[in-house]
Every structure is written in structure tokens, then in C-alpha cells.
Amino acid sequence: MQVHFLTKNFGKYDTSSIGSYMNVGGFEALRKAVTMDPEKITDLLTKVKIKGRGGAEYPLGRKWSQARAVRGERKVVICNADEGETTTFKDRELICHDPFNLIEAMIIAAYVVGASDGFIYMRAEYACYRPLLLNAIRQAKNYGFLGTNILGRGFDFDIHLYSGAGAYVCGEGTALIRSIEGKAGRPRMKPPFIKVSGVFARPTCLNNVETLSLVPHLLLDDAGVYASCGSGESIGTKLISVAGNVNRPGVFEIPFGTTVREILYDLAGGIQHDRKIQLIQFGGASGKIADASILDTPYTYEDLRAAGVMVGSGGMLVIDERTSVLDFLRMNQEFFWEESCGQCTPCREGNLHIKIILDKMAAGTATREDIAIMIKIARVMSMSSLCGLGETAQNTLMSAMKVFPDLFDIGGARA
């Protein structure tokens, strides 16, 4: 069943008019936030256990209190709207249906961590929403929600919109920062961590669109609607995007605990032509896969982890029996081979050679030794790559080895 907590203002107001947004309660959360002690806000976020919704699952309350504690002038809040994971398009919906909420959320974030500048980094594919966001920023400025001495509370904040240009790696924090600085988006070594030295060497707090968008709704959620959904580590609701061979692909807001079957059959309309499910990939290209046995698992952080997959970015790619597991792995591998920035050897060479071995498997010429080499490369990549791209690129392959071991057991038959 769908809920409307984060999505409750979708279609309720004119996204080009701040007045219309204020009629549905816009900027009430900000007005409330600035009367609160910032630590109270981070406590609230910790209490409802919000984890970063971009895929890294880092607790938001902890992130903001760390960002607040960092010493340094002119801190920065960045909203990561690069959303490059395949099958993930939830942030697109938030930007196009509720842009003012995102602006409001960034101002609240700035108030909490003490930032003076905000950057939204949006992928080039969403360039059609640029005018919408620029207009929202301009109107917020005219109404005094951005600029100097916001709401008479003596803090200054401004938001700048930056565009990506088709590089998946720019979703990685340090690469994104380089891109905002006007350079090619190649990731760098950490430390220094971006919370200490990020964009223009200023302390930086980087958040996903969905994570940020939750905050204004939570501040106004006196009745505890959010906390009443889900249990354990997985409290509240989650935006998920379903695509692939389903009848009604799209973005849905679900309470944690909804089963995968309910998501696929009730919300996404079932599999095209009632075919069988070959596999489901959770969390985008760098996510993990499962077979149809996962259907009755509840969608929570804990249950998915126990089933060998992860929430990640919230994407779900459903693949029916027409596509073989190996073909899917090759498509996924091609994606990473294309998108590796080529800076570090494990990721550049590893992705190439795994692609070659997968192609050999498809051609039927792979040997037992090839499989062993592939496993070794995948391990080396996850241990020694420069950034998250190389570290997570082989998640899908490694989980495929667990779910479909027969596929990789070729030595015996050929010997």
C-alpha cells in the first residue's frame, strides 16, 4: 500500500509559485526550525533513525551533528541530485513535484550545521528542471528565506545550482566537489574527509535529495505519523523506484515493512505478460541481486540485508525470464566499464577484465581459471579502488555468485 508522507504535497501546489507553496504550509517547518535549538533537531533525526537515502545509509542525525561540530568558517551544504544509479529516479520526482520543499530543507540544514552557502548539483539529464529550481531559489530570495539575516535570526545563506554533464562518478562525494569547483569530476583520496575539507576546501555537508526532503515534513510531524511506520532500524517511509519488466514502472512511497511482492504486484502492476521473475536488482547498478525467493521478504534494512541484498538508492530493477542472468551481468558490467573514470588501476583494469571474462563465459570459452581470476579481481577492486565506484562495482557480480552458483561452476563440465 502506498502512503503519502514525503509525497503529500505532490500535485497539491503550483510548483512555480512560492505563494501557492505557502498556502499548503510551505516554510512553516523552517519557521519552526529557527525557533528550535539545532541540537534538538539532530536529536529528532537520530530518534527516527533516518539513514542517507542516496545509497550509503549513513545516519543523518550523526552526519549533521558532526558537520555542526566541525570548526571552520563558511561551511557548505550540498544537495546531491546527481542520481546516476540506474533504475533510480525518485529524486527526479521530488525535484519536479516539490522543488520548494527541497529549498526549505536546505535552509534548515544550513541553520542546523551553520552553513553559509548551499549547492545543488543536478545531473545534466534533469536539465529540464533547471528553470523550475532557479525560479524557486529566486522567489525564496525575494521572500527573505534566502540571503542575509534569514527570518531575523541573524544567519545568512544562499543556494547555487550546478549542472553535471553525464558522469556517473560525479555522484561520489569528492568527484562531485571537483565538478562544482569547475574541474573534471575525478574522485580524490580521502582523508581529508569532505566534512572537514570539501568544496573550495570549506567544511561540507553532503546529502541526497530524498534525505533532505524528509526533514521539513518530519519537523511538522507532531502526530508522529512517520515514526508509526516500520520498526527496528527501519522507521518511516521510503521512496522506491521500480523499473524493468513490470507493467507499471514508477516511483512509490511505501512504509518500511511492505513486502517485495506487494511492491511488485500491487504497486508496480506485476510482471509483463505474467512471465516468471529471473532476478531483481536492488539499489541500482552498484546494488545486489536476488531471485524470486525474495518476494515475501519485507522491505526493511534488516530483512533485505539478511536476504543478501540492500536498500541502497531505493531502486528495484525487475528482470523476467527472457533475459539470462549472464546477459544481465554483462550489461551491468558494461555500465561500469563505461563509467569508470580511469584514474586508479584496480577500477580501470578490473572492470575491463571482468567484462572480458564475462564475454568469454557468454561465448562458452571461459575456464575454471578465468572464474578464479574474476573473483580475485573483484576482491582486489573492492579493497583497493580509489572511490566508491570501484569498491561497489562488483556487488552485483558477487551476489550473483551466491544466488546463481551453477552459472559459475563451469570447470567440471569442460574438463
Binding site: 533510480t88 569530476g185 523499473a243 514502472p249
Partner: protein, 168 residues
């Protein structure tokens, strides 16, 4: 701070004015270079950033031209070489590809209709066939993107033909 190249090969004044407008819309901020190059590229009939233009922008923003070339090479949406009037970007992420397993494969149909291979441009400079990794329209697959506009649900040959004909 004009470099030798801009003096030697000045841009037509009309183009200069249009580029200047783009620069102003980005507050002449050199850190916005990626967004600037995307907009400047859209001004060009062949959707690329010519070398002379890159030098001109570098002069105006007082930045190194190597920085601009680095961006042009790094970002797949930017191009330092001429493309077609309509670069057809075919999404090749798994989410799009699994929706064209049977019946008509999008790329082979396009290759056949345009009589070019992936990565090539038609002789009249109207179409380039490009493969991109994700265009953020997984729920509308199979889809292509042409000059920023997404054309979705291209699951039959008729729809693909109609799309190609509809472009002016």
C-alpha cells in the same frame, strides 16, 4: 588577457554576443564551467564546443583553456568534436535494455533505418547514433534522448520511424 588564438581567429560578433549571454546567465562564474559549456554547446548547430569557442570562453572567464579541454574530454555530455544536428542518445542501462529483448531492438532498428553504425553520423549531418549509460527515464523505457528531450516507449519500428520523421 587575450590569448594569441582568439586574436588570430576571432569569433563572429553575433556568436560572441550569444556566448556572452550564456556567460552572464551563469554570472560569469568560472566554477559553473560545466553548465556553461552545456549551454554553449546547445548554441552550436552541430552540438559541440569548437576549439576557438573554448579559447574565447577561457579568455572571458580568465581560466586556463586546458581546464576547459579537460572538462570537454571528461564529461560524456560534452563534445569537442562535431556531432549531428540531432544526436540520438540511446540509453544502454540494463533497465532500458531488458525492455527491448524481443521484437525490435532499438539500436539495430535505428542503425538499419539510418544506415549508420553506433557512433557514426549520417552523411547529411542530421543524425549521430550515440550510446549513453543512463538518461534517468527508466520508467519510460525504451527511450532515447535528443538535444535534451526524452522520447519514450519506442517499442515498435513504427514509433521509431515516426520519431525520426517528426524532427524538423
Amino acid at each position: 588577457m587575450l590569448t594569441a588564438l582568439t586574436k588570430e581567429y576571432p569569433l563572429p560578433s553575433e556568436l560572441q554576443e550569444r556566448i556572452d549571454l550564456v556567460l552572464e546567465s551563469h554570472d560569469c562564474d568560472p566554477t559553473q564551467i560545466v553548465g556553461i559549456l552545456l549551454d554553449v554547446q546547445a548554441l552550436n548547430e552541430r552540438h559541440y564546443v569548437p576549439e576557438t569557442t573554448a579559447y574565447y570562453i577561457a579568455d572571458r572567464l580568465k581560466m586556463r583553456v586546458t581546464n576547459i579541454f579537460d572538462c570537454l574530454k571528461f564529461y560524456s555530455e560534452l563534445s569537442p568534436v562535431p556531432r549531428a544536428k540531432y544526436p540520438i542518445q540511446v540509453c544502454c542501462s540494463p533497465a532500458c535494455r531488458v525492455n527491448r529483448v524481443d521484437s525490435h531492438r532499438l539500436i539495430s532498428t535505428l542503425e538499419q533505418l539510418l544506415d549508420i553504425k553506433l557512433g557514426e553520423t549520417t552523411y547529411d549531418g542530421r543524425f549521430t547514433l550515440e550510446q549513453v549509460t543512463c538518461i534517468g527515464a527508466c520508467d519510460r523505457a525504451p527511450a532515447v534522448r535528443i538535444n535534451g528531450h526524452v522520447y519514450d516507449h519506442l517499442d515498435t519500428q513504427e514509433k521509431i520511424e515516426a520519431l525520426l520523421r517528426s524532427l524538423p
